[in-house]
Each structure stands twice: as C-alpha cells, then as structure tokens.
C-alpha cells in the first residue's frame, strides 16, 4: 500500500526572482536574468569560442565566432551567444553540427584576409585567433585571391603599434577606449572590406590606458613598444603579483625570460582593477632593469662615494646611528619613507626605528598626503565607492594619481549608479562625469563644502543612499588642514559615510598601517625635516625616500638634508637625496623581492619575486634586519614568510593575514581594525586675502613625471613634459602674456622661469603647475607651512 499521507510541510526555499534556469549541452545551468549565454556557458565549463566578446565590455556581436545552436522555444537556431541573454527553459547546444559549420566558416572568413605571419608575430603562442583556428577552424582555406594590404605596423601612439593586416575588426580596442577609458581616440574607419582602425590624423591614441588594448586584442594587431619582438610566450615564466606603483594595488602577472623582466599583464581582480592597468604601472618594469640602478652599497669617503661590501656599509650605517644616538639621544634620529616597498620592508624598518633605535620619529608620507589617523575612519572598499549613491571627491585628480580608481569611479558615473560631487581647485579627469563640480580657490575649500551642503538639492542627494568620500591631497601648495576640515564637515553632515583614502604612493597605506608612523610625540616628515633644518637631527634615515624630489617644499628639504648631521639612505637609484648621504644601501626593486602590499582599501595582496635582485642589492627588510643585528637587535627573520607572520602576530587588524591565508585568498585580505592613533594636530595658519595681482598656486601631480619608475623607463620617460604654468585663457591678458611665452614666477621663497599654457581647466586667479617635472622646480616656490601660496607672474 502506498503511503498517501500528505507531504510534510516544508518551507519552500525562496526563489530568486532573477534566477534563470536553462540547459546547456544537456545539463541544467542556473543563471541570472540579463546574463549572456556565453557567460553562463563559461561558468558551467562549456567554452564557446569568441573574439569580440569580453566580459568587461558591452557586447557588440562583431565577429560571429560565438554562434551556437540556441533553442529559445522556437527550435534550435544559430545565434550569437554573446548577444543573446539567457531565458528560462532555453536549450543551448555548443557542439551541434550547425554550430561546428558556422565556426569553421567564420574562421575561414577571418583568415581570408589575415596575413598568417604567426612566425614573426608577437602574439603567436598566446593568440586566440591561432588557438581557435586550430581548435575550431576548418584546417584549410579556399581563398586563393590576393589579401588586403596595409603598411605594416603604424604607430598609433608613442607606445602602441597597429598592424591593420592582422586586425580582425573585433571592436575590442575601440570599445575599451570609448567605454572604459573614456578616450575615444581610435575608431573604425571606412566600411566593408576597407574597414580599418585609425586615429584622427595627428591625434595619437594618447590614452593613459592604451596598454590594455594590446592585452585584449585577440590577435597580434596591437603591440606595445616595450615588448615588441622581445620574447615568445612559451619562453616566459610568470607569477601573479600586485602593482605597487600607486596605491590602487592592481593585480598583475609579472613575466620574465632569462631572468629579465619583459612584461606585466593585468589580472581581473573583481574588487580592484577588473583586469585593467594604467600605462605607467604596466610599462615601468623597464626601470627595474635600468642601467642606472644602484647595484652595490656606497660609503662616502673623503674623496666621494666608494663602493663597499655589505658588511662594511652596514657597519658604517650602524656606527652613524650609534654616534647619533650618543650625540643627541634616539629622538635625534628620524626615519622617513617605507612606502616604496612591501609591508614586510616597512614593518622591519618600523621595528628598527621604533624598537631598536627607539625613536618615535618614523613616518612614511612625504608631506603630500593627509594625516594617517584618517585611516581609522570607516573605510570604503573600491567596490563600495563605485556603487555608492553619492561619491564626494575631495581628492587630487584621480586620473593622474590613482588611474584605475579613476576608471572604476568613471564607470560608476557612466552607468548611472553613482553621482559624483567634486570639490577641486582645478578640473580633473572626472569632472566631465561629475554631477556637481565645485571649483574652489585654495583657502576657500571648507567654505565651498559648507555652501554646497547647505544646498537642499545636494542634501537630498546625500539622503538618497550611501556616501563615500574619496579623500586626498588636491593641492601640494597648501597645508592639508583645509582638506581635513572639509572631509570632517562632509562626514559630520552625513554620519555613516565611508572614506576611501586617495593616498598615492605605492604602499603608503601599508607602511602606515604596519607601523611606519609616528609614536607619541614623534615627528612626521615635515616636522622631522624642519628639525633637521634647525640642526636638531643627528641622523636622518631615508628608506626609499627622496625628499628633494618628493617633498613639496624643496627649500625645506634642501635645508634639512644640509642640516642633518648624518644621512643613511636606502634606495634603488642614486636619487638627489641619496647623493647627499653618508651611506647608501642598495635596495632590490619591485619584482626582485616578494612580500605583501596594502592598497587604499586596506586590502593586503601578495607581491612576487620574479627575477633575481640586480647586482648586489638586497630587499629593504633584509637590510633592516641586518642593521638591527649590528645595532644589538635581532628580529630572527630568515624568510619573507617569517616577516609576514610577524606582522600577522603583532599588528592589530592583520591577525588573519598570514602567508597561508594569503596563498588562497585570490583577491587578498582586507586588514581589520587598526590600533588607535592620536588625531594629528593640524597646521594652523592664517589664510591671507589674495592680492589681485597675484595668482594662488595649485600644484599637483600628473601621471608621467620624474618619478624614478617613469624617468628610468625609456618607453615612458619622454611622455613627461617640462614644468609649465597653466593659466586660465582669460587670465593671460592679466599678465600680458600669451600661450607658450616664457614668464617669471615668484613667491616669497624664490623665482622660477617657465612657459605658459592656456588651460580652461584651471580656475581664474589660480596658477596650476605640475609637480616634479623636468626643468623649473615648482617645489622651490612652496612654503609647506603656509595655508596657501601666492605667486606673482611676470612676462619675461
């Protein structure tokens, strides 16, 4: 007898209204509304060959390679899987005879005009067209006619070359340029058989993100100068790593051959970079193998620097530190830097500073950031920022300083997820995506924010949902005081908002978090330099820090380096500051050492060693550990993992970030709650009225400047321009000057001579000068303790 008792009442699991069930090759696949068949199939492990489809670009259905049999209820039909969204009950067959015929046909057509120069093509061996011709092609061609001919590669920018014969017109590069980068500088030209990619005559594809097109081009049509004809893919060894050029922390693959770095590729990390890299991060590997690298320690003798053995150099450094301690106590020693390296480097140096030397004067920002205690505020992730209802920018130009963060926030605005409210002294890359842009003259930032907050429309916008404040230093020619106040004003008006620090330098957040920050009563970089200038510093330790180049107030940096009795420098190049040191310890560069790095979100990811350290260089953490031994401390570090584990053990918020955990955490691990820090005292100074003859100075960085990584990468170095002063076109008359003319620019500090650019992005009454460019040095004009810096500009 069958049991017909009523079925037990079980609570039906809630059905996700967006869930779509379909069948792919006979098995059921659960997908979500809006997903394209090709993506659902990929997740289910059914590969559908394709060229134009890219998960991070809008579908276009250009190449037709993804045609498969799709039965949406009216019988199987060949349809492009990249253009057809899933629907309930849909049946997909990726291996039907019709599909196979379509694939062979498409490959034959694509190859009809393809030069088949695989043996001399950089893409050969990693080429989707080559691979899919083998896996899905007919094996032979019926096409015997003459192929289309074009001049072999033409330069479409300083870095990227285009071979139009190889191009299969997939629209990936052009979509990337338009949709993702917002630089629609390459386009399809003409029609039919004549279609080809072009730039406008004399307007090159000068995008900060151009390298990505090379990475996503499914054939060898686009190649990048630094890698052209350098290697074959099967000769490359590679490891996943993280870019530490800026603090976005994009995931990369670092590739080398015969112990030589050859290429970085972007890895698609969903929370961070979506596979993209900026050109600066992608191509500055050239600097690692630069002939100008510092290859061994140097010790200053009566007749200048002499190469030294490590033991001699370390002994010299140790004795300088001990002398300094004896002369002025531990507080007369300051350690500056640590942002260039890994967390392990920074941690070892912070221990050396705080524990072994015993000084509270340890700091890793170069006077161009914001107080470290901002890191204690509720921190947003990049994802949270890029999905916030409102994004408030109180930051430098993200396109120039944190390029991939710019891409992420640009996307948020383009896709209408977020509204951007920008406060800036000058228009930025994001201004055209901003819902509201408030230009303020330095000194009026807080007032501008207060005024905006009082606007009911803006208040209503804030009330609509989550708020993320992107906070950084928009102007190096004023103290950070106004920006900190402005941030606190926004936070006070919108409790619950989160903050994403737009700190720029490589691993500066990691360095601050693991301990390269002042202890009670310690001197930050500005204060330490001031003390050195006043003759109160017995020994200055520069860990990958170059105040002469990076500190905004060059005069103070110069006086500090002259006033410090002893200088120990650790660096990869003989920088202007290292040139003044008593001992220079030669450090290994990126990709020559492993470890971890922390991005602006607090996300800790791994950095891989891919090549052997150049010359006789050592990783910063090793240098710190050995110096500690000479100074009577013992860190007991043998491997990098010992240091990572030590951080997990000792640094609050890093408990879970062990080498073992990192090995499996694909997207890294976000550090937890940091230990308390005292709120930094803000520099108070009166904001003077601007004399109507004067211009208020705005100084910020651009992507390509004289940074060692850029200046020592031949493919990038020439992209950095000379220092020029940018004035609003309507202000040129005020000075009686014209575009391109040479002017004299004076502050209370100094006078520099430079050329004028008319630039409508600059606010009237202000003068914008990029920092750390060649030629005139704007740092000479800046007084870093002044609330604002005014300059007078005169025609020469």
């Amino acid at each position: 007898m069958t049991d017909i008792s009523p079925a037990e009442e079980v609570e039906a699991p809630p059905v996700d209204p967006n869930e779509v069930r379909l069948t792919i090759n006979g098995h059921e696949v659960v997908s979500t509304k809006g997903e394209m068949v090709i993506a659902a199939a990929a997740r289910a492990g059914d590969y559908i060959p394709h060229f134009c489809y890219h998960p991070r670009l809008e579908p276009v259905g250009m190449c037709r390679m993804c045609m498969v049999d799709i039965d949406g209820g009216r019988g199987p039909m060949l349809q492009p899987a990249c253009m057809v969204p899933v629907s309930p009950g849909m049946k997909v067959d990726t291996g039907s005879p019709a599909t196979k015929r379509a694939q062979e046909g498409i490959i034959e057509l694509l190859l009809a005009n393809h030069p088949l120069d695989c043996p001399v093509c950089d893409k050969g061996g990693e080429c989707p067209l080559q691979d899919q011709s083998f896996s899905h092609g007919p094996g032979e061609s019926r096409y015997v006619e003459e192929k289309r001919h074009y001049e072999k590669p033409i330069a479409i920018s300083d870095i990227v070359f285009l071979d139009r014969e190889r191009c299969i017109l997939c629209d990936r590069c052009t979509r990337f340029a338009d949709e993702v980068a917002g630089d629609a500088l390459i386009q399809f030209n003409s029609r039919g058989n004549n279609t080809h990619i072009t730039t406008f005559p004399d307007e090159p594809f000068a995008s900060y993100f151009s390298g990505n097109t090379v990475q996503i081009c499914p054939v060898g049509a686009l190649t990048a100068k630094p890698y052209r004809f350098k290697a074959r893919p099967w000769d490359l060894a590679q490891q996943e790593s993280t870019c530490t050029t800026c603090a976005v922390g994009c995931r990369t693959v670092v590739q080398s051959s015969h112990d030589e770095l050859l290429r970085y590729m972007g890895v698609d990390s969903d929370p961070v970079n979506h596979g993209w890299l900026c050109d600066r991060g992608r191509f500055n590997f050239e600097s690692v193998k630069s002939a100008d690298r510092l290859l061994q320690p140097l010790v200053r003798q009566a007749d200048g620097f002499q190469p030294a053995t490590w033991s001699a150099a370390l002994a010299e450094a140790a004795s300088l530190i001990l002398e300094a301690k004896a002369a002025g106590g531990p507080k007369s020693i300051a350690v500056i830097g640590g942002a260039r390296g890994t967390n392990e480097d920074a941690f070892a140096w912070s221990r050396l500073g705080h524990e072994v030397i015993g000084t509270p004067n340890v700091y890793s920002q170069m006077g161009d950031g914001l107080p470290a205690d901002l890191l204690l505020l509720d921190r947003a992730t990049i994802d949270q920022a890029a999905s916030a209802t409102t994004i408030v920018l109180l930051a430098p130009d993200l396109k120039e300083e944190l390029p991939i963060l710019y891409l992420r926030l640009r996307e948020a605005a383009e896709k209408k997820r977020s509204r951007i409210i920008e406060f800036a002294p000058k228009q930025s890359g994001l201004t055209r995506n901003a819902w509201r842009h408030f230009a303020y003259e330095p000194g009026t930032q807080v007032a501008a924010v207060e005024k905006a907050l009082a606007d009911p429309e803006i208040a209503a916008q804030f009330a609509k949902g989550s708020v993320v404040v992107v906070a950084g230093r928009g102007n190096l020619a004023e103290t950070s005081t106004a920006t900190v106040r402005a941030i606190r004003t926004v936070l006070a008006a919108n409790p619950g908002s989160r903050i994403l620090p737009a700190f720029r330098r490589g691993n500066v957040v990691g360095a601050l978090q693991v301990g390269m920050r002042t202890a009670d009563g310690g001197l930050d970089t500005r204060a330490a330099l001031q003390a050195a200038a006043d003759g109160k510093i017995e020994c200055l330790v520069l860990v990958g820090a170059d105040p002469l180049t990076d500190f905004p107030d060059t005069d103070l940096a110069r006086r500090a380096l002259a006033g410090a009795r002893r200088i120990v420098a650790v660096d990869t190049f003989l920088t202007p500051s290292a040139l003044l040191a008593n001992v220079v310890l030669a450090a290994s560069a990126y990709a020559e050492k492993s470890g971890t790095t922390t991005n602006i979100e607090g996300r800790v990811t791994t950095v891989a060693q891919q090549v052997n350290p150049a010359g006789n260089t050592r990783a910063d953490w090793m240098i710190a550990a050995e110096l500690a031994l000479d100074l009577g401390g013992d860190f007991a570090y043998e491997t990098i993992d010992d240091v990572t584990a030590d951080i997990a053990w000792h640094v609050a918020g890093h408990e879970a970030i062990t080498p073992e955990a990192l090995a499996t955490a694909k997207d890294g691990i976000i550090a937890g709650l940091l230990p308390a820090m005292a709120q930094a005292k803000l520099l108070e100074a009166v904001i003077p009225e601007r004399n109507s003859y004067d211009f208020r100075l705005v100084v910020s960085r651009t992507m390509y400047d004289q940074a060692t990584g850029t200046a020592n990468s031949p493919s990038l170095a020439h992209l950095a321009t000379q220092t020029m002063v940018h004035l609003h076109p309507l202000d040129l008359g005020k000075v009686g000057t014209t575009e391109g003319a040479t002017v004299k620019m004076s502050s209370t500090r100094a006078t520099i001579v430079l050329n004028v650019v008319a630039d409508p992005a600059v606010l009237r009454g202000t003068a914008w000068v990029p920092f750390n460019h060649s030629g005139a040095n704007v740092g000479d004009l800046i007084d870093c303790t002044a609330a604002v810096n005014d300059v007078r500009i005169e025609n020469l």
Partner: protein, 203 residues
C-alpha cells in the same frame, strides 16, 4: 578657411539645437562642411567634434562610413557612372571609357581645372533606365555617348547652373524652423513617462 565659416557656424548651432543630443547633429554638420568646401576637411571635423562633444576620431569614423562624404577635394561636378550589372549590360563600360577620354582622367580622378571628378559607381537603383549616371547625385537616364558629351559640355559652359548645384549642396533651400514651431528636444535622460503613442495605444 577650411573650418566652418561664420555663417555656417550659425547654421550649425541651429541644427544642433534641433536634437536632444548634440552628437545627433554630426552628419548634418558634415554635410554643411561638404557644402562649404566641396569636401569634408580635417579642420572641419575637428570643429564639428568640438561642437557636438565627440572626439575627432569619432567624427572621422562616422564620416568615413559614408561613400558620399569626400575627404579630398573633388570637382565642382561629381560624375558617377553606374557600373553594376544592368548598366554594364547596357554599355556603361563604353560610357565610362568615353568619359575618361573626354575628360582626360581615369575613373576616380579629377580634371585639372577642378571642374569634374569621374567615378565608377555601384547600382543607383535606376536599373530600368540603364545605363545611367548621376551628376552631383542628379540622375541622367539611358545615356548615350553623344548625350554624355552634351552633358559635360553644358556643365562646363555653366548652362546647367540652375539645375545642378556645385558638389556638396544637399538642397538649395535650407529649412529654418522658427523657435515656436520646433518640437523642443527632450534629452532621453529626462524622459520620465513613456511616449503618448504607447500610453494612448494601450487604452
């Protein structure tokens, strides 16, 4: 002066004003520039890009898609002789050779005096009247070599000035829509309700 001249800039602004998105005016503005100079100049494309908020590359990409935009100087009269099947069967090849001989240029070329550009064209949708040709896109049907000679002579002598305007002229009368008669473009982003033809139709 290969940018749009002052009078045309005013017209361009009027045209842009007709569209909810400035970019939509790209093609009308390309026509305007072709009308001014007989072809589309690079300078005009840069200017159009500025006016409609696109990049010059986007304007170039759009423009080059269309056969009827020219990017090099063409003659005052563009003579397109159809070379597709029906016309070919009815002797267009002879016609073309004849024209080449008379004008002294090969198909695709422009006479030295800048008066004529000769082109072999694809089907002009007048197959029943083969062989046919167009002068500045004005048709001539069932053309004989003698008629071709006559046509070219008349054009050269200016006898057809009233009938065939110079290359680039889309229409001799330009439409101006007074502000009170204009629809008033609504930017797509600002549209809140579905259009009347949907709401009304549903009733």
């Amino acid at each position: 002066m290969t940018r749009l001249n002052e009078a045309n800039v005013i017209i361009a602004k009027e045209i842009i004003g007709r569209y909810p998105k400035a970019r939509s005016a790209t093609i009308p503005l390309l026509h305007l520039s072709q009308q001014q100079n007989g072809y589309v100049t690079n300078e005009a494309m840069v200017q159009i890009a500025e006016m409609v908020g696109a990049t010059s590359a986007e304007v170039l990409g759009t423009a080059t898609f269309y056969e009827m935009f020219k990017f090099e100087p063409v003659g005052k009269y563009l003579v397109n002789i159809c070379g597709t099947l029906s016309c070919a069967l009815m002797g267009s090849e002879t016609l073309l050779h004849h024209a080449e001989g008379k004008l002294g240029v090969k198909a695709g070329g422009t006479t030295e005096d800048g008066l004529f550009t000769l082109e072999r064209a694809e089907c002009q949708a007048a197959c029943t009247e083969a062989p046919c040709l167009q002068v500045n896109y004005r048709y001539r049907y069932k053309v004989t070599t003698a008629e071709l000679d006559q046509l070219l002579d008349d054009l050269a002598a200016g006898r057809l000035d009233g009938e065939v305007p110079p290359h680039g002229t889309v229409a001799r009368v330009r439409q101006h829509i007074p502000a009170d008669k204009a629809v008033g473009p609504v930017p797509p982003d600002a549209v809140v309700a579905p259009p009347a033809w949907i709401t009304e139709g549903a009733k």
